[in-house]
Subunit: 131 residues, 6 copies
């Protein structure tokens, strides 16, 4: 039901093949998920997205699992069903337990609720919170 066709391996441009090989190597699996097959129509966008994603999601001051959970939280607030599915799977693959998942959901729900209350009341920012 996508608005662009998902590209099969034998339809890819040389540049897209290269990115797909990097995705396979980084993840240790032959499977390349639909997002990349949709993006492959635009090899420059495919390359830029993969390169930046790899850099952003790498271990750093935050560990990769925390980053996946933040990704999932943003995707939820943006109602991106595909993203929620793929980043829930990724978070589990990186060690998110059922208990961690439940707490993550609770924080998302809590944030949504108070976002709504604060916005509806148009509460002014306290001076104490200003940099």
């Amino acid at each position: 039901m996508a608005t662009v066709r998902l590209m099969a391996d034998d339809e890819l441009s040389a540049e897209a093949v290269e990115v797909f090989e990097e995705i396979r190597a980084a993840r240790g699996t032959e499977y390349v998920n639909n997002f990349w097959r949709a993006l492959a129509h635009d090899p420059a966008q495919l390359r830029a997205t993969w390169d930046r994603l790899k850099a952003v999601m790498a271990p750093g001051a935050l560990d990769p699992l925390v980053k996946e959970m933040v990704y999932l939280a943003v995707s939820t607030a943006n109602s991106c069903g595909y993203c929620i599915h793929s980043h829930t799977a990724a978070a589990k693959a990186k060690g998110m337990t059922e208990e961690m998942h439940a707490e993550l959901l609770a924080v998302i729900g809590m944030a949504m609720q108070t976002n709504g209350l604060v916005t509806a009341m148009q509460v002014e920012v306290d001076d104490a919170f200003k940099v």
Copy 2:
């Protein structure tokens, strides 16, 4: 500029006074921020929100700093300026360094971007991601 008046200490109902005292004790400061002063018009909502927030944000399978960063991510996707200010301050108070903040911002930006790409292409969920 709020759409409800912020309540001063001497205007609070008995139930609201009790919640304010709990907030002060939990945080170790006399200062009670504007969100609670706006919410205090409805003591039942104030009590329910504080009780649930305390439970949800407590240490558990996820540590409180991770929870603050998830809260900040949701608040950003929902464009809640007040919430972004207050939870950035809270995350810093719980140990978020400049480097962690920068990585959090990068993940939020990345998630927003791919949320947009996926949604615009209406990519179908891979079977591999289904529970």
Copy 3:
């Protein structure tokens, strides 16, 4: 801070003057708020918006106060600060009491929370809910 200038009465086109007169007559006040002064740069949009607003917000199967509260709820979920301010004022003018306002806020917060939980869990629609 608007991205279009607010138009003063003596700058209006003839068509815009006519709409402003209708707004004043319908509301029983000389005051025309900023939204209409921003929209007046495009008299066709001004006319279409005012005509449709008048029809949609008129008493019908739902009473005008209920409509204002629905308007406020949508504006909150869309983070439209101006709209929240103007429709809170309009709801109060139409009889929204403090107690009604508090209950409205509680429903908005509850809906936001469960929207987040449902979306994060990607719950499938029950057959019982399908038309």
Copy 4:
């Protein structure tokens, strides 16, 4: 397609069983919809959500049907398909006629439109709307 499995009756914890019994009693039906079955993985969240929902949606200064329509409006602005389905069904069960539904849709559409116009023009809040 949910990212958590829907729990069957014989998998529930004692605390979840108790909440399910309350849901059945309150609604006068054996049927418990998918949202609660997804939430049942976290009995504390299940309990907190059900308790607060019951309190918030009870008759008060606003009648329950008005509350359902506000819920539906928020769910629409947040693109929560499941929530739209379940709260449309609930609103109908509480007496929403076709005519009321049509007017509700018209108000939601109108609010979305003017939210977009106001935000795109960044109209400043009138002093008259400030508390």
Copy 5:
């Protein structure tokens, strides 16, 4: 799965029949898509929406293809799957090539990303950008 039934041609009111005939004439096809069949329950809303859509999307200072692409961009940010499908189809019918589509997607992704970064940092508007 809609929350209102799609109306068949032989169920339409006289006013709805008239709008459907205008849609068919304007588009040069007998096919009337689901949106209009859902909206037909409320002939006044159907009429108002069609009339305004026709006026807004007509050639003017912006050409119709640009308008379709803007429509698609807004629908993406609002996660309206139906709207994304229908306006992608409409944009292609009006001449959007694969290359234009790819560039449009890239701009949407870029805007989403920087929207997230700016909002998370709560950057203040430069004086230079104020009207």
Copy 6:
């Protein structure tokens, strides 16, 4: 009121200085706006964002003004006030006339309205719109 301090020229890292020089050269002005000064705390994010923005917004199958208008539309649906201000200014600098601006606003408003109607009715995608 930002949650990160805006960096002055004499506080920038060498990598940030380099990006600022490229921004100045590309735009033919000494002025560097607040977004970049906030982003400069993370030189890698600054570099990645500037490089991708330059590539995405360059003339191609779509002209730069169309791209600015799409950017503005997305920023509006995401309620990013700063982004709306900066991209309205950029669109004007690239030739957006008052008439084009008015038509852009009308399309955004129309899209928002029908997004709301379609979502509230959960209209199913026509087979004719599927790729």
